[in-house]
C-alpha cells in the first residue's frame, strides 16, 4: 500500500465494475448484431443501432475513461467536444435540408 493510493481513493473504480462494464459491452455488441434480424424499417433500424452504440460509448467514457470520478472541468470539456460536433451537424443540415429538391432523385 503506498500513500498515494490512500490519498486518491475517489479516483479508483473497482475491478468488479470494470468486469461488469466489459460484459455489458459484449452483450450490447451481440444485441446490435442480432437487431439486423428485426425489421424496424430503415429509420427505426438506424435509430436503434445508434442508440446502442451511444450506450456503449457512454459506458466506455464513464467507466473506462473515468469520467465518473473526473473533475467537473474535465466533464465540461468532454461535453463541449460533442457540442462543437453538434454545431457542425446543425449548420450542415440547415444547408442541405433547406435546399430545393432535397434529397435529389437518384
Amino acid at each position: 500500500m503506498n500513500q498515494q493510493q490512500t490519498h486518491h481513493p475517489e479516483h479508483h473504480i473497482g475491478l468488479g465494475t470494470y468486469v461488469a462494464v466489459f460484459v455489458a459491452l459484449m452483450v450490447l455488441l451481440v444485441v446490435t448484431v442480432a437487431m439486423i434480424h428485426v425489421d424496424l424499417g430503415r429509420t427505426g433500424g438506424f435509430i436503434v443501432a445508434m442508440l446502442i452504440a451511444s450506450v456503449k460509448a457512454l459506458l466506455v467514457m464513464i467507466y473506462f475513461m473515468h469520467l465518473r470520478t473526473a473533475r467537473a472541468l474535465t466533464r465540461l470539456f468532454v461535453v463541449f467536444g460533442f457540442f462543437w460536433f453538434a454545431i457542425l451537424v446543425v449548420i450542415t443540415l440547415s444547408d442541405y435540408l433547406t435546399r430545393a429538391g432535397w434529397p435529389p432523385r437518384v
Binding site: 500513500q3 459491452l25 446490435t32 430503415r42 467536444g81 462543437w84 460536433f85 450542415t92
Partner: protein, 219 residues
Amino acid sequence: MNHSHTAESDARLFHQFADMEQQHESWSLGMWVFLASEVLFFGALIFSFLLYRSVYWPTFLEGTHELDLVIGGINTAILLTSSFTMVLAVYTAQNGNHRMAAFWLIVTSLLGLAFIGVKIHEYGLKWEHHLIPIQGLEFEWHGEHPQQARMFFSFYFTLTGLHALHVLVGILAIWVVAYRVAKNHFGNDYMPVEIMGLYWHFVDLVWIFLYPILYLFRA
C-alpha cells in the same frame, strides 16, 4: 503545504505544477482537448458518410452487403476486449504493480495487432473482389450505379483506414509506455498509463460507431 504524497511521486512533479493532483488533472484535461478535436475529425467524416448514404442509400445498402458482418463483429469484440485489458493496465498501475501494468499494456497492443491483422485480411478480400476505388484499378460492380458504389468504398477505406492508422499509432505509443512502465520509470505515478488508456479507449469509441454504420445497416 499539505504534501501527503510519497517522495517517489513528488519526484515526478514538473515545476510548472503546484502539486501532483494539479499535474494529473492538467494531463487528463489536455488529453481530452485532443480527443475533442478527434471527435470533430471522425465526426465530420462519419456525418458526411451518413449524409451521402441518405441520398444514395440503395447503392450504399448494396455496398454494406459486400462487407462481412462476422469479420467486422470479430474486430469489434477484439477492440472491446483490448479496452478491457487497457483498463486492467491502468488498474494495476494505480495499485503500484508496474510489472502487471506492463503485461496488460503488451496484451492490449497484441489485441491491437490482431485487429490490424483482421483488417488487412478484410482489405485483401476487397482487393480480390475488385472493390478498391482507386484510379487505375479495375473496379467491378454489377449493380446499377458503380459511381455511387465507388463513393461508398471511398468512405469505407477512408473511415476504416484512418481508424486503423490511429490503432497503429496507439500500438507504437503503448510499446513506449509499456517499456518505461516495465523499467519503473514512473514510480508510483500511474498517470502515463491512464493517459495512454484515454487515447486507446477513444480509438475503441470510434470503432463502436463505425461498426454499425458501415456493417449493420442492412435493411
